[in-house]
Amino acid sequence: MNWLEFSYLLPLFIIGCGAVILMLLSPVERLSMENFSVLTFVFLTMALIGNLYYFGELRTSFPLANIFSNMIIDDSYAVYFDSILLSGGVVTSLIGTHYFQTKRKFKKEFFSLFLFSLFGMMLLVHANELLTAFIGLEIASLSLYVMIGFQKFDTRRVEASYQYLVLGSISGVFFLLGTALIYAGTGTTMLGEIGYAVDAQVGKDTSLVLIGGTFILMTFLFKISAFPFHNWTLDVYDGSPLPVTAFMAATFKVAIFGFILRIMLVDLDPIREMWDKLFVFIIIATLMYGSFMAVIQKSLKRMLAASSIVHTGYLLIAFVSIGVAGESASSSIIYYLVAYFLSAMGAFGLISYITSNDQLRVTYEDFRGFAHIHPYMAAMLSIFMLSLAGLPGTIGFIGKFYIFTGAIEAGYTVLAVVGVTATFVSIYYYFKLIALMYFYPYSDLENVPPLRGITPITIGFIAIAVIAGGLGNTFIAYFPGVDFLIDNARLSYMSLFIK
């Protein structure tokens, strides 16, 4: 056993074992929900610390090759994504604390499933082989299906869970079919080797790989809810418990992008431009559809769900730009994922906290005059809305700056203009909430829990991070700011090409 190589995989190992331990402990009556949420937090923090130990180091390795036979890779890229995913886990568990404790219908197995889904996502990011990736993807998805429908007395939850299950499984099948076709075309499912095989075939017939890649992309588009595979998003996000929605919207997307960028940047690089025209169409449709849906929503949760489609569109703008402006576009994707993750996590988390004592539908109107009774929560919610809208001074602005710069650099100025138009529309539905909160004198929202406990503190920290990420590090010395994140994103990009 090589301990150094084992230590590379330690975070993955901790999360996997943690999930199993929690599952085994769940019948023990003496342990309460609180104990479980603390245990989950401990596992997540241990894994995050283990992961951050290797953060910022340029490296590529195949740990424990004799056991996993190169199917699992550990490079700076995976470490960066793991950090985002694990932070997502930590934040979800902290934000969810209040929610899970007040809504008594959750069972202890929930936390085990939560760790399992995180394990699946991490596996996806570490996968160096298509079937391993599929296993990771399905572990993550299956756990999420159950997490969504956990409150089985609520028909909305069950409907959302079932819809996601059926559609998600179909999209999973596409992935398998794509894998089979790529195997037929190249004779391997290992990521590096696919690249060599495709390189050798360029100029000859690459149709099998092309079709296989298209199928895999379809799964990818489904999971990140891009046009035309977006129909499930609104209902599923709306039907899920809010912390789970936050987890899905912010974290799952990160993992999917983590895998698809790896395969697109390295293995399918020679034939990638064949999809470019298709992507331009998909992006414009995604942005338009998402904006339209977000504008007409009355429910805040559905608006955030629809706006997540728009943010997928922005990410895809950077995704299509990686052909020409590889480094800046892919690091802009990574940066934007962090930006979106923070803002969305904060917004979903705060709304879940505000409404956790009630069975509200959470419409815009519920927030009328909210700021006059709860100024701090309103301020935080405004910060998240501004960041999602990409106003200067927030991390969302820097994220958009990178994405649009990358797009123009790659020659897709038209897409940048379309993206800006979508941003312009988004001002309406984000500012509407701020206007409602501040410009009406009284509030009907009752049963708002006081600012106490771990959840508001976490959300407060996220709000500070959103501002700090938007100001850069001139203002606060030695604080991880814009340059730190983007430099490390570039480092992780470089690690993909170390042979």
């Binding site: 001074g393 820097i398 123009i408 800006v420 941003t423 500012f431 509407k432 206007a435 983007i486």
Partner: protein
């Protein structure tokens, strides 16, 4: 001269605003502190003014890396044109505080005013395009708050409308800024958004340049507002609280003109020349169109809203006249108009506080009730109309001269249409203030000491600059010459 003084001017109000938000200080305390801050800034600005060197170039440069990966810098500086706008803002804001003293009774109001002052100063000094965009947008949020929280009528809708309207312009400008940055990167191999670097780009084709130019123009034209981009104006002005209208009309709009000269002129000098006739036409058309629109208004605030837009069209025409006289006239009218229109809106605010919102026909006989009010109102009004002895006269004269130099026919049109202001202003003054028509205005209270103190410097400037304009023009002349000779390559001819 001390380096760092510009940063103090930018960040002092912001820092104080944050402090006020955190500390449990009541409305009055916040207002007093904010007033003191504005006075401090006034004296800092005075210090800069006295030590300003008469060159056409940037002074007091500050340059720190901000986001290094993309070569974005915190880069600020000041030249003659920014200097006069700085002086204008530094004088107007303390005056506005004095006139708004008892008008608004909320802490958020004063905190927003502080934030706005930071945003304005940042916009004014930025020499990096991203930094400029940062402040340009950041300036919007506190205004959003002021209109939405303290406005009247359908304020929520008009707040959203003005926000979305201005955002539309600035977002397209944002894409253009990024395009310029990328063009610089492809030509020189390193990233920069610094104005001095961006002007060196040579690779952009003519067609693309026009698109970039138009998107910059759109952002500024909406803010000013130039003719077809004014549809947010009336509703926003009439639904805003006094402070909001004051900020929008006498400061934000002038910043639109300022940004036009600061960024569009050096980045697109050829297009600036090429489009000049069109923009002069647009400006003069706006002058006439908004003037006629003002005649038909029955509400003073709405009338002033159109009157303000009308003069801004005239300022734009002066800026695009492509000679020193016209441009100096434009800069001069920026100051003159900001002072007089700002003063008028603040005075109308006082009238509204006493009498409520009324149409002109429900007023009348105020002169008897409030002679001091009438006196100041008259001076501001005369300045707007451009009566000799006020700075409005000097400014309008210079612009008309500039336009004559540009083209005789344009000059004739300008000289005749500028009189439109006289028609509605005097009519309104007679109906609303002088003539006693039996309407009950007994609740009108005359100005108190604070308000008079706030207005006196403005009156001093109006008359001082009107009688001895040279005292003011010599500071800005080298800068204008620099624009004309070094950037636009037009010979100097004063």
């Amino acid at each position: 001269m001390h380096i760092g003084i510009l940063s103090i001017i930018i960040f002092l109000p912001m820092a104080v605003a944050f402090l006020m938000l955190i500390l449990p200080i009541k409305q009055q305390g916040t207002r007093n502190v904010a007033f003191v801050v504005s006075l401090v800034i006034f004296f800092l600005a005075l210090y800069i003014y006295n030590n300003f060197q008469l060159t056409g170039y940037m002074q007091l440069r500050e340059f720190y890396p901000w986001i290094q990966t993309y070569g974005i810098h915190y880069s600020v500086g000041i030249d003659g044109f920014s200097l006069i706008v700085l002086m204008l803002i530094a004088t107007l804001i303390p005056s506005a505080y004095l006139l708004l003293w008892n008008n608004e009774r909320s802490k958020i109001y004063w905190v927003s005013m502080l934030f706005i002052q930071s945003g304005i100063s940042g916009t004014l000094f930025s020499l990096d395009l991203i930094l400029f965009y940062f402040f340009w947008e950041a300036m919007l949020l506190p205004v959003f708050m002021i209109i939405g929280l303290f406005g009247s009528g359908n304020r929520v809708f008009s707040t959203l409308k003005v926000t979305i309207y201005t955002m539309m312009g600035s977002l397209f400008m944002f894409v253009s800024i990024l395009y310029l940055g990328v063009a610089f990167y492809y030509e020189f191999g390193s990233w920069s958004f610094e104005l001095n670097d961006i002007v060196q780009i040579t690779t952009i084709s003519y067609e693309h340049k026009i698109l970039l130019f138009l998107s910059f123009m759109l952002a500024f034209a909406i803010k000013i507002p130039l003719f077809p981009f004014h549809s947010w104006l009336l509703e926003t002005y009439s639904n805003s609280p006094t402070g909001g209208v004051f900020l929008l009309s006498s400061i934000m709009a002038k910043l639109g003109v300022y940004a036009l000269v600061r960024f569009v002129l050096p980045i697109f000098p050829e297009l600036f020349k090429e489009f000049a006739p069109w923009l002069i036409g647009l400006g003069l058309f706006g002058l006439l169109y908004f003037g006629i629109a003002a005649i038909s208004q029955y509400n003073i605030k709405k009338m002033f809203a159109y009157s303000s837009a009308s003069h801004l069209g005239f300022i734009t025409a002066g800026i695009f006249s492509l000679n020193a006289v016209g441009m100096m006239g434009g800069a001069f009218l920026v100051v003159a108009h900001a002072i007089s229109t700002g003063g008028l809106f603040l005075l109308v605010g006082i009238m509204e506080r006493n009498l409520g919102i009324r149409s002109i026909s429900a007023l009348g006989g105020i002169a008897k009730k409030a002679p001091l009010f009438t006196f100041f109102f008259a001076i501001m009004l005369l300045c707007i109309v451009g009566i000799p002895g006020t700075n409005g006269f000097v400014a309008e004269l210079l612009i008309i001269l500039g336009l004559f130099k540009f083209n005789v026919y344009v000059g004739v049109i300008a000289a005749t249409t500028v009189l439109v202001a006289a028609s509605y202003m005097f009519w309104m003054f007679q109906k609303a203030i002088l003539e006693n028509r039996g309407n009950d205005v007994s609740e009108m209270i005359d100005l108190n000491v604070k308000e008079v103190l706030g207005l006196l410097p403005l009156v001093g400037l109006i008359i001082g600059m009107g009688i001895y304009p040279e005292w003011f023009l010599y500071k800005i002349e080298p800068t204008i010459q620099h624009y004309l000779i070094d950037i636009l390559h037009i010979g100097a001819n004063v």
